[in-house]
């Protein structure tokens, strides 16, 4: 795979290591976690692309962030509360009209458990 072309001063100076950041086995495991399926070719390509991306991201290792708090929310705000009173929600028929399958006023899903009849 072609190495990414890094431009000017906006690149990392250090490009460490040669071994893979993510293996094919890990790719298949992550795909399973994410409920995705990949063909053999797709998995190989995914491994190469993620590996290049993660190798680039290893540039973060040059920073010492001990004692630096994480920023999960960029703008500080308090979780607002609303009065606990009933309001109109969306129309059931209109909502169910978008379901791939619906039945008796609910979403119809494939069987999860075998049922003895």
């Amino acid at each position: 795979m072609r190495r990414p072309r890094l431009k000017g001063r906006i690149c990392y100076l250090r490009r460490p290591m040669a071994d893979a950041k993510i293996t094919l086995e890990q790719v298949l495991h992550v795909a399973k976690l994410a409920r995705l399926t990949l063909s053999d070719d797709e998995a190989r390509q995914m491994q190469q692309q993620l590996d290049a991306i993660l190798e680039y991201m290893a540039g973060l290792d040059e920073l010492d962030v001990s004692g630096v708090p994480p920023t999960f929310h960029s703008i500080p705000m308090n979780a607002p509360l609303r009065p606990d009173v009933p309001t109109r929600c969306s129309d059931r028929a209109e909502t169910l009209a978008q379901a791939p399958e619906s039945e008796a006023g609910g979403f119809a899903v494939p069987l999860v458990l075998e049922v003895d009849s």
Binding site: V30, R35, L63
Partner: protein, 487 residues
């Protein structure tokens, strides 16, 4: 100036005075969209019926002597990740190909209340993930300045439609640059509001801690006016800010006298593209001539923004997109059992870039990697935010280019995702810090492609951005220049 290059203000004033009917305006823009869309592919849906009905309502209101809204009769395009009741909203994804939302996004309600006429839904990178619009499941959008160039992304359709005179103004969404970068590529202005300034209710979520809806227009004033319409508190979005909306339009006339403009000198000098550097320097010189002071500032951690963003945004995306499972809406590809129904649906419904980002995000959040990737990225995000805190002690706005190069060619970066990500280097840092940002044209390259200048301000300082961007537009903007090769 006449059709199709009239401003939103000119259209509104003519509709208000009765010089033209809103229905006639809508028909003219719908016709133009139908004619040019086969070439540009900027619309995924053109809503004749809805547009004509909205226009007719404006005309009726005028005849009845009612007060008309600030965008009465103005044709608007909206990105197809904003929910529109009764009108297909696809996110340019096969998984939502036939989805018809049962509700309007907050910004859509605001547009309707302002009298705007929504002419259609614009193309985008699937789920707003991309920088070239090449990740759409429904075809590539062209750049109206050069049809073989990318319009930018992910709001490429909205940028293209605006630049090509299919509408005067449009809405996009911006997670890491998705209104600013296409605006730069297509020679228009776009504002990425402060996180929380505009409600995200009804915006299909990509990365919830970064997503904002943003206005796009051919002039700073029109972008400012559109922001005034869509900004504001909405309790259906828990992160929506309950703060007054200033008049961004009035801010456009305030000038830059005495303002301090921060120049990130090392970023500017590190640019490989001479045209971009010269255009941005011309913009800076114009600001100085108009009474602003230039001060050097530095953003030492900005170079890490690509890593930080593509860890955080993909982690959030992997979680947000878990809802697409073929059960409640959208595509379902049945399998032997429930688990196989999930995987079949997602494997066939999501395109390659979306799958790649879900994979990367899932990896970054997974056991054993969370601390090393996700949490580390959130800590470096703090360092990026602090860089801006320090910069804003010395200046009022920070100026950089919007993009390292003008519009690249379609197909140029599709084989290498990392190279595509690296082109986002200037738009990502303000997004990670939740700041207000604007991109406005500051010139053209030697081969005639627009170049964008980005200004960044402290939270809720959108007005100040409008003042400075207006000065750039007055000196070296493209507001009166239009792509020529269309008709």
């Amino acid at each position: 100036m006449s059709f199709p290059w009239q401003s939103a203000f000119e259209i509104r004033d003519q509709v208000k005075s009765g010089a033209v009917s809103a229905v006639d305006v809508a028909r003219a823009y719908l016709d133009r969209a139908e004619t040019l869309n086969p070439k540009l592919a900027c619309f995924l849906t053109i809503d004749h019926e809805g547009a004509l009905a909205a226009a007719a309502q404006v005309d009726r209101a005028r005849e009845a002597g009612e007060t008309l809204g600030p965008l009465a009769g103005v044709p608007v395009a909206v990105k197809d990740n904003l929910c529109t009741r009764g009108v297909r909203t696809t996110c340019a994804s096969k998984i939502l190909g036939d989805y018809i939302p049962p509700y309007d996004a907050h910004v859509i309600e605001a547009l309707r209340a302002s009298g705007a006429v929504i002419v259609g839904k614009t193309n985008l990178d699937e789920f707003a993930m991309g920088s070239s619009n090449e990740n759409s499941a429904f075809g590539n959008v062209a750049n109206p300045w050069a049809l073989d160039r990318a319009p930018g992304g992910s709001s490429g359709g909205s940028a293209c439609a605006t630049a090509a005179g299919l509408v005067p103004i449009a809405l996009g969404s911006d997670t890491g640059g998705s209104v600013r970068q296409p605006a730069a590529f297509c020679g228009i202005t776009a504002i990425k509001p402060t996180y929380g300034r505009v409600s995200r209710y009804g915006l299909v979520a990509f990365a919830s801690s970064l997503d904002q809806v943003g206005p796009m227009a051919r002039s700073v004033r029109e972008a400012a006016a559109l922001l005034e319409v869509v900004a504001g508190h909405d309790r259906r979005d828990a992160t929506s800010a309950d703060r007054e909306i200033e008049s961004y339009l009035a801010a456009c006339d305030q000038g830059v006298k005495g303002l301090r403009v921060g120049v990130v000198r090392d970023l500017l000098e590190g640019l490989q593209d001479d045209d971009v550097r010269k255009a941005v320097e011309a913009g800076l010189a114009a600001l100085e001539e108009n009474g602003a002071t230039l001060v050097d500032v530095s953003l030492p951690h900005a170079k890490h923004a690509v890593s930080v963003y593509y860890l955080i945004a993909t982690a959030e995306a992997s979680s947000n997109l878990a809802r697409f499972d073929g059960i409640r809406y959208g595509l379902r590809v049945p399998g032997e059992d429930l688990a196989e129904t999930y995987t079949n649906t997602r494997a066939q419904g999501f395109g390659p870039e979306v799958r790649r980002r879900i994979m990367l995000g899932t990896y970054a959040l997974s056991a054993g990697y969370y601390d090393a990737f996700y949490l580390k990225a959130q800590r470096v995000r703090t360092l990026i935010r602090r860089d801006y805190d320090t910069a804003f002690e010395q200046c009022d706005v920070v100026c950089t280019p919007t993009t390292p190069t003008p519009a690249f060619a379609l197909g140029e970066k599709t084989s290498d995702p990392l190279e595509m990500y690296l082109a986002d280097i200037f738009t990502l840092p303000p997004s990670l810090a939740g700041l207000a940002a604007i991109s406005t044209p500051c010139g053209k390259s030697s081969d005639g492609l627009p170049i964008g200048l980005q200004l960044v301000a402290a939270p809720f300082e959108e007005g100040r951005l409008c003042s400075v961007a207006q000065a750039v537009e007055d000196a070296c903007g493209l507001a009166l220049e239009h792509p020529g090769a269309l008709d």
